[in-house]
Subunit: 212 residues, 2 copies
């Protein structure tokens, strides 16, 4: 295969993909084709990983009891988070919709296989956290490829990782990195929902290049 | 702005970008235009973040003393890693080129601002590691946008994070996530260098969709 050239038109579309990605919490009921889902996971396997360790493990949660356990965990963790807030924050928080777990046709748990022998430890001696970081990049590849295919992804971090991991009956060395809702979004949006709903604004420091 | 549609041709090019990204360790000496670098950081600021916290901080390392301190840290950490290996692994490891720090025109350290008030803690109560994960996704956005612009990125994790952080004189709450080499690659490659050099092969588990 010859080396691909990425022209200005592609780069503009890529920037649009970043700009319109979104963390989705409002899903339509339409199912996602299983072959499409499998193809997105295969695409995610092209992600960078420390020492070529490829430690991500994608798990589709099909069983309704397991799915309910994850939803219940979110419900508890979300109620706990609200109890920790007061005043205007509590009011705003209570009004936010922070997961689309009930509606999303697909639940996907993504783990880091901390016992993998792939890569034989290369690059992880002084910064072992890079193994988990590798799984994070695979999640993001999946997210971008899904959005380009018109499929929305929402990352739910408001849950009890130990409870969810136990409910999914995975090997003991698998560490939960993310719990994803996957499906077709009700709306496409250019601005993050937490910005549109007045929770937070764009932070200028995130676009700065500091110098040292 | 109207909602962009991503067609099959864009999705194929996006998959090529994932496939040809590469972790680059062989750089040409050509400089990277500072305006291009700044534009790539601005593009990275469109990345997902837990609770819209946007915690990534990109730091260009210009000072030659600081740059040398990072290179020295890599040299020490790499020698330590080699001492921990034996037999065929040690032989193979010694023959690998694991960073292009000496040649790369740009060194970029990326931190997570663990003290940021942006996002006000939303989504981080039960999985606080998602703040660092947000910075990882910004690094990967930068990486993809750079590759699309013909600029290579190499992530160096073989160094002492405390030493490098101290050398860069950043706020105490900034946690080092990645140290990046940035510049034009000597060659474009479809296969990871660690695969071409016989260190590791593709792991089928990374492309699997497990079910539960």
């Amino acid at each position: 295969m010859s080396v691909p050239q990425f022209d200005a038109s592609f780069r503009e579309r890529l920037a649009e993909l970043f700009r319109w990605r979104r963390d989705v919490r409002h899903f339509r009921a339409d199912p996602v084709d299983p072959a499409t889902l499998q193809a997105l996971v295969a695409e995610a396997s092209l992600s960078p990983s420390v020492g070529y360790s490829q430690p991500w493990r994608f798990v589709a949660v099909r069983d309704s009891t397991r799915r309910s356990a994850a939803i219940d965990s979110f419900t508890r963790a979300n109620a706990d988070a609200l109890r920790g807030m007061s005043g205007e924050d509590a009011e705003k928080y209570a009004a936010l919709k922070l997961s689309g777990m009930r509606e999303a046709p697909v639940h996907l748990a993504v783990f880091c296989d901390t016992a993998t022998n792939s890569g034989r430890g290369l690059g992880r001696a002084t910064m072992p956290e890079t193994l988990a970081y590798s799984a994070v990049m695979a999640i993001y590849t999946f997210w971008l490829a899904a959005r380009a295919a018109g499929i929305g992804v929402g990352w739910v971090s408001i849950l009890e990782p130990d409870v969810v991991t136990a409910a999914l009956d995975v090997p003991a060395d698998w560490q939960l990195i993310a719990y994803l809702c996957v499906g077709y979004a009700e709306h496409d949006e250019e601005r993050p929902e937490l910005e549109r709903k007045g929770w937070e604004i764009r932070d200028d420091r995130a676009a700065m290049l500091y110098e040292r």
